[in-house]
Symmetry: C2
Subunit: 522 residues, 2 copies
């Protein structure tokens, strides 16, 4: 196994293959080695294991706080959507009714050969769809809740599971069932709804940068990549370490489309009746995958401290039974002191790993799980009042001996430094692999890989005149799409100026209002 | 409307009908008037509105803390269960495969008359069941995770939605989809698994008393009421204000049944291979219903402060525009001071209701929502440095003028007093309507209502020899069941002694080891 080889120094990395050798397989192995998730016996659905789920819980808590601070309240709507609801909004049907889980019966009975079969007598009059997204069912509720301008704005969020039938799945990145939040709001005016759409896009971008340590482009989707039924879709786009783009969150201005489909009407101050203006916005467990692919290295997961379930893992090194009690007492006292410190709103989370397994294996397990700080403590440390600290953002073998008091005093500073360091590294990577592309030949060269598994390309900033046929052709020929028409997330980047100003499409020569971001993507 | 009549003093209560008039309808009206939940267009599924969901979030947070403090970690398992998994455990199939949502197709296509129909070409080879509970799918995961005694105990919890097809539903109490948590653990020995089962029953009982302010019997279910596939089922049972019992939580000792069905084997220290011993335990959004029916009164919801989304609602009383700014400033400063106080781990939650609606209506809205403290503040209060405080556990018209500083200093004490008061009142009610019943005639008299809607009966403590036929007959004739064979939750009650000691079944004369709790139930 890679783990033991690494521990013995016969291999250079704990994860096989490395990123350079086979990026997609490296990703799967990182997730597995960190014990975050696994495939389940249900096709396309994953089991999120405790370490992965704890990261999601941290994401949830921080986002939930941001949603509540911006005036939203949580609610819960049914898992099932009547088929007729999906049929109400024409584009929405096209986008979501296709690959979904359809409930047709409400009972099983014993079949002819002993097993269970759907009871023909319990066939539903109208099939139910397991929600792929909840615009239609929430729209039906909003239509009841909204009567007057006094009921607006209505600012609701839901944390839920959703199902979109997928043929090719990858843990966290694309699964048939996934966990997410979906914000749904209704407003009296278009301006207010547009402001909400951009505000929540901003919340996502802030969260990505400040918590996930992932820099993101903020921008608008082209028509072809719009949410089915939306007037405008906005997104945040991050660059993974294979230089592909990953859409990490979306915010939709739905205009009055869903209000009309669901009948969300209100009486204005002047007693006329109007349709409300609605928005929706969401992020999902995909964020966990984005975080992995942004920061993990060839030794496994690397966690931004603000989202790490455990900040400090304490590893006792026992030397015989006599000193065991002393080591344990020293560790317990240290753990208590560390837990008294605060990283933002959270206390510093400390875990003690007393399992009776080889010290080397134990060390490597926590490297692969991405715990920010590993602290070894043996009898000599106890005697000298010291701790031996290893940081996950430094080479695995690099350890620093620190006086215990100094470590306690500095732990929050170190964690903040690591958090900032991860963002700086990811930003430098993104900026380095974002190129201004001036013509078709350069575009083609940029997106052409030399071999099967070569990591290549990146974000190309190029003029494009909005022609959907060009878009389709690029997608077909290079698997490259317009990730967004960027409006933010790039201030200070070396190529930032290139995103301002008109030009001519590098494919058609037609006038283009600004450069857009092209990339291969997840 | 009842609300306005009550405000005007022409009716005595804000909720119509009252408990005495029509208890089931009163319940629905309380839930509606508090704006907690409503029926959805999906048969049997509810929409949990922000006020109801915030209560559930508080329940979740407190329980989650208790689960983590007892060593459990959260994870997430698939929504869908392959049909074959349900077939693995014979009793389990009988109990759960019957009324469930069956997914048979993974695509919709345009049908002959324009609408969408399940695509015959996308029929699943094996139908999927929307989880009614997750023993089987989690068992499959545990079988992979557990190899050695070193992997045990495995202590996992999941927060999730589940679906059990129900014909007759009531908001929170019985719905086709509901939210819950399900703990699932695996242990090396029977003793450990039994200890876990009882520990979690204890956690539920503590939560019910300390947070919900609901006294509960803890005990064992009879064979006929056991969880399908369990060896023993334990429960907590609460008395509602109509004197019926409500099962508020269950904890199951599953023996090796599910370990055998799922193949959860481990290597022991002595290198033999054994099946693990498993448990499962759960509570659901039903708890919200239990809380309503325990404390609400004929004016609406009454919330135990520890679970209330808002502790103090501040209600400005403006008298003309000149003093408006002063009132607002006074309220903002007061809100900040109050939020600086802590009720347990939570800060004191304060909301300011500045909506431009009639003061009387506003007051009654918060009465019906069960906010613990309503505080009115007008220009005269500002001048005198006073606040006008109304407690939800006192008559609606009773208001006390207090110096602002005194109120801030006392607010936590008042809330704690209210919390304790609700528990004391619910305990007195439960104790009063729990009767020792010595013979069949008394039993019959106890459970016979004089009219259709008379609130009658309660908990009957009687000897019973364990005869399932007697149980079935009582259920059939009186709709009365054995709620539990009690082991705790009654210390100090006037009839506590009656629960200890042998006797003879009041129906058959056969020897009985102890009295059991009979009641009608939800
Ligand atoms: Zn480059
Ligand atoms: Zn009585």
């Amino acid at each position: 196994m890679a783990k033991n080889e690494a521990a013995k120094g016969t291999a250079k990395t704990a994860i096989t293959p490395t990123r350079a050798e086979d990026y997609p397989e490296w990703y799967q192995q990182v997730v597995r080695a960190a014990d975050m998730a696994e495939n389940s016996p249900v096709r396309g659905c994953m089991v999120i294991k405790p370490w992965g789920y704890a990261i999601w819980e941290n994401i949830q808590r921080e986002l939930d706080t941001m949603f509540k601070e911006t005036g939203h309240k949580n609610a819960y709507f049914p898992l099932f959507i009547p088929k007729s609801f999906m049929e109400k909004e024409a584009e929405h049907v096209e986008g979501f009714a296709k690959e979904c889980a359809v409930v047709t019966h409400h009972r099983l009975v014993a079949g002819p050969n002993g097993g269970l079969v759907p009871d023909p007598e319990a066939k539903l009059e109208e099939p139910l769809i397991v929600r792929p997204t909840s615009e239609t069912i929430i729209g039906a509720a909003f239509a009841q809740w909204v009567q007057s301008y006094r009921d607006l704005p209505l600012l609701i969020n839901q944390w839920a599971n959703v199902v979109r039938w997928e043929m090719r799945t990858r843990l966290f990145l694309r699964t048939t069932e996934f966990l997410w939040q979906e914000g749904h709001t209704a407003h009296a005016t278009e301006a207010e709804a547009r402001e909400e759409t951009m505000k929540m896009l901003g919340v996502y971008a802030t969260f990505a940068r400040d918590f996930m340590a992932v820099p993101v482009f903020e921008g608008k989707k082209t028509e072809s990549e719009r949410f089915p039924g939306a007037v405008d879709t906005f997104c945040i786009e991050a660059m993974m370490q294979d230089r592909k783009a990953l859409q990490a969150g979306t915010s939709h201005f739905l205009g009055q489309n869903f209000a009309k489909a669901s009948g969300i009407r209100f009486q204005t101050k002047t007693e006329t009746e109007e349709f409300a203006w609605t928005t929706s916005w969401g992020v999902s467990t995909r964020l966990v995958g984005a975080m992995v692919m942004s920061h993990a290295d060839d030794d496994g997961l690397v966690l931004p401290p603000r989202l790490a379930p455990t900040h400090v893992i304490l590893l006792p090194v026992y030397r015989g039974d006599e000193t065991r009690a002393q080591v344990d007492a020293y560790i317990d006292a240290l753990a208590a002191e560390l837990r008294g410190q605060r990283l933002g709103e959270r206390r510093v989370e400390v875990e003690v790993d007393r399992r009776d397994i080889r010290g080397g294996d134990k060390q490597w397990e926590w490297v692969k799980k991405g715990a920010p700080l590993r602290v070894e403590i043996g009898p000599r440390d106890v005697e000298g009042g010291m701790v031996m600290v290893a940081r996950r953002d430094r080479p695995v073998k690099e350890k620093t001996s620190l006086p215990r008091g100094e470590f306690v005093a500095k732990v929050v500073e170190i964690l903040e430094e690591m958090q900032a360091g991860l963002l700086a590294r990811a930003s430098a990577f993104r900026d380095e692999h974002t190129h201004v592309v001036e013509d078709k030949a350069a575009f083609e060269a940029f997106f052409k890989a030399k071999g099967d598994k070569e990591i290549h390309g990146g974000f190309a900033l190029a003029h494009w005149a909005g022609d959907a046929r060009v878009e389709a052709e690029l997608k077909d020929r290079y698997k490259v799409t317009v990730r967004c028409i960027p409006s933010g997330g790039f201030a200070g980047a070396p190529w930032a100026d290139a995103l301002v100003g008109e030009g001519r499409c590098i494919f058609t020569g037609q006038p283009s209002p600004q450069r857009v971001v092209f990339a291969k993507s997840y």
